[in-house]
Symmetry: C2
Amino acid sequence: MNGDVLGPGPHTRVRRLPAKATYEAVAVFDIIDEARWCHVAGVVNGLAMSLPTLHAREGRTIYLHASQSNAVMRAIVAQGEACVTFTLYDGLRLARSGFESSIAYRSAVVVGAVRVIDDDAEKARILERFVDVILPGRAREVRPASDSEIRLTMVVAVEIDEASAKVSAGPTEDLESDLELPIWSGTVPARLVFDTPIPSADGAMATGAIEVPESVRRLLDGQ
Amino acid sequence: MNGDVLGPGPHTRVRRLPAKATYEAVAVFDIIDEARWCHVAGVVNGLAMSLPTLHAREGRTIYLHASQSNAVMRAIVAQGEACVTFTLYDGLRLARSGFESSIAYRSAVVVGAVRVIDDDAEKARILERFVDVILPGRAREVRPASDSEIRLTMVVAVEIDEASAKVSAGPTEDLESDLELPIWSGTVPARLVFDTPIPSADGAMATGAIEVPESVRRLLDGQ
């Protein structure tokens, strides 16, 4: 597959409502980059489980990190392949019928080969990226990771082999026979907002002299 | 296990950061009920995959619904057991180090036996509950489900055998040796907000005479 289209592949062909599906890399990447967390699935003790976790994308590589003891992460390393799911909640789509009503969402599913990042310098670089994933611009504001912090963390790369995205948006799609019913229909957009920061009160923060940093100010100003 | 404690069981013991874990039913149920969607995991074509979907809880039963052709849903029915994960994003916890920085979240993992709901009257009742899951109070406002809509939908029940919850909240937990660094730390709360509804413009809605219903007004007034 070329760089512009990531599917469909054997794991990611969308069968239900294919009109909502896309396999274009740019659409998949937009969802991954906007999602603040993802779910990675693995088989643990004979049962498929999914775990919420953070992610950082570089090109067709999704980085995940966890404690070295994380069971789902160890399972995907043992399996050598993983599925990662990204879901954005955009609000409500309220049709005249319950059947056609649902949430507005964008989701992406990627499947790819799993590789453990062993090199400490590479791990340090990726872990710094994770700080900026939590909040853009934060990495340069915090104390750099220590060697033992880097060793305690497992970092894995999932190289995207195939992916799909599914988008449910826009006006409701009612049955023709429902259109003249005296029932309100429409959409209600939803978004995540951040509220006033709550500063720590311990250590040097107790003086009240340390100002809200640029990363936090930019987050609040940008919404 | 009694009704007040749902774990730990073999699938749900929290090993990493056990201080953040709880197995109390009330804590698990609160997260499930506040979550607007969940992820269900299943093995499809030899690979563990997770699928975002809606859920409705009644006691220790989690109902899920999907198209009859849904591959993950068919997989959990075949397996007879499923893991469902619920994740709430509450904001940012910004420590002085990247290692101690993360998101504020509440998550719950439940594992239980899977049962297909075949009875049409029971399916109709549960599907009505799903309309109220999308938006409380909406079920009584929409056109009731038709027999064919009920037949097109697969409804499964997951009876909770074991569950755990994990909560990351409150002030940052910095290393003692980081406390005097001249670095801002604190938390930034996040929440989902709903914006002005966008009414449909087709059918009877084109007249502009159908008022925003109580369900939507209550959603907007309550935030």
